[in-house]
């Protein structure tokens, strides 16, 4: 494998795409969102239950490539139990990373991204950015729904 591919498919991405954290439906979601990537037909459904201003429970289902699955899995690992504000901040940061065309963000931001920093290489491939972001679009929607729905 070339170094470009090794940078893209870092071990943490491959691992998460196989061992998907948080995969499954919630019992009584307060908010949920279904998103499709029309280019490939990949889909995901993200469900949340709030606990005050926290993401009490976060679950997801769907199908997609290793990038999209790992992104959802890491999202679950990093955000379940965390505050909505933290979720929004992390989402913003991840979107920023995805539009950085493969460049790293400032060290402090990169640190804040934790495992998500493994996606730095994805941003070099315009067609894959949507894969990485699909779950995060769904999360944002699901939270809004849970808050106002």
């Amino acid at each position: 494998m070339s170094s470009a591919m090794q940078q893209l498919y870092q071990q943490v991405i491959l691992d998460h795409s196989r061992q998907r954290s948080g995969y499954g439906e919630l019992d009584q979601p307060q908010g949920e969102s279904f998103q499709v990537n029309p280019t490939c037909g990949d889909e995901c459904r993200v469900q949340v239950r709030l606990d005050g201003r926290r993401l009490g429970q976060l679950g997801w289902t769907g199908r997609g490539c290793s990038i999209s699955q790992a992104s959802l899995s890491i999202m679950h690992e990093m955000l379940e139990g965390e505050s909505i504000d933290d979720a929004e901040e992390l989402g913003e940061l991840f979107r920023e990373l995805m539009h950085a065309r493969g460049k790293e963000l400032e060290p402090q931001k990169q640190e804040q991204l934790e495992d998500l920093s493994a996606f730095t290489g994805v941003a070099q491939y315009p067609a894959r950015i949507k894969c990485a972001l699909l779950g995060w679009m769904a999360l944002r929607d699901a939270i809004i729904q849970a808050q106002h729905g």
């Binding site: 499709v36 029309p38 280019t39 491939y125 315009p126 067609a127 894959r128």
Partner: protein, 420 residues
């Protein structure tokens, strides 16, 4: 800054000769413009380096093609004062105008759900056009009216070939659509858009602007103009044939049902039913004219670099020259305003007792390319009491020498058919 005298050198075709070695004097830009080398080169580069299906592949060339295609959309959007997602690629302005008409039809037939209800027409609703329209902005509305039971009404032209403001009163309570040209391809008259938009808005009607001639010759800002839809064609603005665009205000395109359907504009397709992507993709079914959009990108870059203001000023000077010269030939009657104000460098005219075919033929023999016929605008010819005309139309690459050659040629025509 390039002087206008140098501009012609950018257009390879203008260097050719015709009819046995005569210098070409191309005065048919109103029909289609010639293309600068930069446009042809951009298209060639795309075809030899980045040609691939857009929005579809995971491979590098497909990425490059997608980027080129969407960068072209961004450039064209900026050029006409629109937002990115408000520009839908079409093959020409005619398709763009039809797209709007069929959007209304499809909504009327129940497509597009609740959001599209705003576009439903009922029998007795009115569609207002003008007597000045190119057939492309007339026939689609006749057809829409015939299919929906709506009634077509129109604003007449003045003796000078401008829209008659007194006629704006046909826009009334039942008016749902007002479709009008920004600049006539026959009389050259530039429409004062504001009062029409205002009146249409006051009765809740949608406005559709035919910007085919204006986008090619004047700086335009669609957001400023405030119209709801607009159409223009690449080939009139130095871009390749085969590409044009529809502008639609974001929230209207959002609500409008698709017209052409197929690949690349769908989300989920089962045998039973289909959900559609948001605009602009919703209106771009199938493989698009990608190389041509890249050419159009180069064309608007070229125009922006020259400056649409400078171009308009240059053409204004040519208009004056043309109108002055024509006024000196007694047998000639210009179909359009006598003054160059608010007027494109287009002069359609009648030569007393000489048929336009014969005028054009003899000019052609001198290397002077003009257009003869009704220029896809029969009603305005009828309004002037003629059936056809000869039309000379200039572009950024037209020189004063071209206009003088044309005027001299025309005097010879009159001499030949009437003189002796």
């Amino acid at each position: 800054m390039t002087s206008v005298r140098d501009v012609a050198a950018d257009f390879p075709l203008l260097g050719r000769t015709v009819r046995g070695g005569k210098r070409l004097v191309y005065l048919d830009t109103g029909a289609t413009a010639q293309k600068p080398a930069a446009v042809l080169e951009a298209e060639r580069r795309f075809n030899t380096e980045s040609n691939a299906a857009v929005h579809r592949g995971a491979h590098q060339i497909a990425e490059e093609a997608t980027e080129a295609y969407e960068a072209a959309r961004a450039a064209v959007a900026q050029f006409v004062g629109a937002d990115f997602a408000e520009i839908v690629w079409t093959k020409n302005a005619t398709e763009a105008l039809n797209l709007v008409a069929y959007g209304f039809l499809n909504a009327t037939l129940g497509r597009g759900g609740a959001e599209a209800e705003q576009f439903r027409l009922a029998p007795g609703d009115e569609i207002v056009v003008t007597e000045l329209e190119h057939h492309a902005n007339l026939v689609p509305w006749q057809e829409l009216a015939a299919k929906t039971g709506a009634v077509l009404r129109w604003i007449p032209v003045t003796d000078e070939g401008r829209l008659d403001p007194a006629g704006f009163e046909v826009i009334g309570e039942r008016t749902r659509i007002v479709a009008f040209t920004h600049a006539s391809n026959v009389t050259g008259a530039v429409t004062d858009v504001a009062p029409l938009v205002q009146r249409a808005r006051s009765v809740g009607a949608y406005t559709v602007l035919d910007a085919c001639q204006s986008a090619a010759h004047l700086p335009i800002d669609l957001h400023c103009l405030g119209v709801d839809f607009a159409a223009f064609s690449g080939h009139k603005m130095l871009a390749p044939t085969g590409v044009g665009a529809l502008y639609g205000r974001a929230e209207l395109l959002d609500a409008m049902p698709p017209v052409l359907t197929g690949g690349s504009m769908v989300e989920i397709v089962t045998m039973e039913e289909t959900t559609f992507m948001p605009p602009p993709q919703r209106f771009e079914a199938g493989t698009q004219m990608v190389a041509q959009t890249v050419g159009m990108h180069a064309a608007v870059d070229y125009l922006s670099e020259l400056g649409m203001d400078r171009m308009a000023a240059h053409e204004h000077r040519l208009t004056q020259l043309m109108l002055e010269g024509l006024a000196e030939i007694p047998e000639v009657r210009v179909l359009g305003p006598a003054s160059a104000e608010d007027r494109l460098a287009v002069a359609a005219f009648d030569v007393e007792g000489v048929h336009p075919h014969d005028v054009g033929q003899v000019l052609d023999d001198d290397g002077i390319a003009v257009r003869v016929g009704h220029h896809c605008a029969q009603p305005v010819h009828r309004a002037f009491g003629v059936h056809a005309s000869t039309r000379a139309s200039a572009g950024i690459y037209t020189t004063e020498a071209d206009v003088e050659a044309f005027l001299a040629g025309l005097r010879r025509v009159v001499q030949f058919f009437r003189g002796g």
